[in-house]
Symmetry: C2
Amino acid sequence: MEKLAIGIDIGGTNISLGFVTSDGKVLIKESLPIKKFKTAESFVDFASEKIEKLVDELDSEYEIKGIGIGAPNGNFYNGTIEFAPNLEWNGVIPLASMFQNKTGYKSFLTNDANAATIGEMVYGNAKGLKNFIMVTLGTGVGSGFVANGELILGNDGFAGELGHTIFDPNGRQCKCGRCGCVETYASATGIVRTAKEFLNNSNESSILRDYSEDSITSKLIFEAAKQNDKLALKIFDFTANVLGFSLANAVAITSPEAIFLFGGLAHAGDLIFKPTKKYMEEYLLIIFKNKVELKASSLPENNAAILGAAALVWDN
Amino acid sequence: MEKLAIGIDIGGTNISLGFVTSDGKVLIKESLPIKKFKTAESFVDFASEKIEKLVDELDSEYEIKGIGIGAPNGNFYNGTIEFAPNLEWNGVIPLASMFQNKTGYKSFLTNDANAATIGEMVYGNAKGLKNFIMVTLGTGVGSGFVANGELILGNDGFAGELGHTIFDPNGRQCKCGRCGCVETYASATGIVRTAKEFLNNSNESSILRDYSEDSITSKLIFEAAKQNDKLALKIFDFTANVLGFSLANAVAITSPEAIFLFGGLAHAGDLIFKPTKKYMEEYLLIIFKNKVELKASSLPENNAAILGAAALVWDN
């Protein structure tokens, strides 16, 4: 009898649900706009019925081992989503126990970055690694730290906020209310801020000047850099400096074997990896130099969130 | 039969050796200048004989469970001291296996800060805590991070270098070759550097001006601050800012329940704790605010190193 985990990814726009084998094959996958569900209760009702239906349709050779949920502001210890600013569901939502009560399956919940980290450990390049860091470079910067083979959750379940370590206390205003967080530089939105600053503070020619300020995206900067646009390359270099700095400081704390980059910015390949690695090595304490691999995540982008969520089931 | 651990602390000046009960009583303690031993071999020979003699003198109601060693540049995984700049013993020294072979007792070795961390966990205020940080504020800044109830050693055994996270990449020259390490500000030597800078960069009156620049010590600064010397208080405030900043960034990564400060600077009490706590809270991400206790270590200074080393035996 083959064992399956159900992975549910709660995003700001869409919710995805998939049935995943222990070796990471996604057998069934469904996506729905989260707007359909005014409350978490209505979503749990709908999804539980859906799961029941899908399970009925499965061959009897499969056995469901549990449900894993990745969600913004997810707290593993409590199985709750806590005050997620990007969701319409307010307050503290005990989503794991709601699913467990409704479906009878053991249910686990954690935040998106932690789910991706466990996904990398269970299905990806971090298989077998006892000490590594996963960094998700999306709209924000998320991260998960694994030490001694276990995800660091911390006292309250909220550990792993590399994006909200402070790079420069006099730096950019962050949505979190403080200034200079790594996220304000090394995310997709951060690199756009850098581009706007660089465009406004110099007269250097650039392909990016063909676009209105409001239409500049991280993708456009990437395209310009690929065409060897000097200003775009400087923007990547500046971003890599911040990221390399914060990674070097993180290495001094947990001394990982490898760091995996995931998400939007990581797709820029050598444009982001090469300078980040260069700066990280420059900032590293000598005992850590040339020891830490900087690699792309091996989770397939389209299924990463579901794989990460499902991996919670195998990891627990 | 009561169980005992033997704790050995290798310092730059002295070596201490003690027999410690499982509840942290130091029954026997001896100290020797390290200069007596030109080589690690000669020390192991001497200490093993000493241990044998002391064991023979013990009541038969005691049983030795093992040897724990705290040493600069100690690597727990390998049981080695690796290229310690402050020791005359050169290269890589497999001290744990040397002791184990000579005495027959299971032997463990780690660096001083990690030993202090395990000491705090086994004998001190961190008893029962699963997530905490220990920071030793001495000549340098050492640290140990505990997550999920286990010390983070990292891939190579060298994790926990908070003192060598970079506060300001354009900051002070550090002995490690890089610039702006936390250690160059928040250690006993760091606070003296700050005092000299502050004295040279202003004409502000201060008790400290009664001393020649070369005679200023962290203790003098402490004494001046206790007498409400404004410049000395500014020096503490500046130091606390750097320490509070680096602690806030560390909290974002491991989300500890408590942080313990140990060593020279920690003895300044409120003069260092109050402003450090204030700055740490200012720099903390909102989800971590007012959650993390900042406390003095409860290890008695005179026996802390031996207790920490001995604690390795109970922890393994």
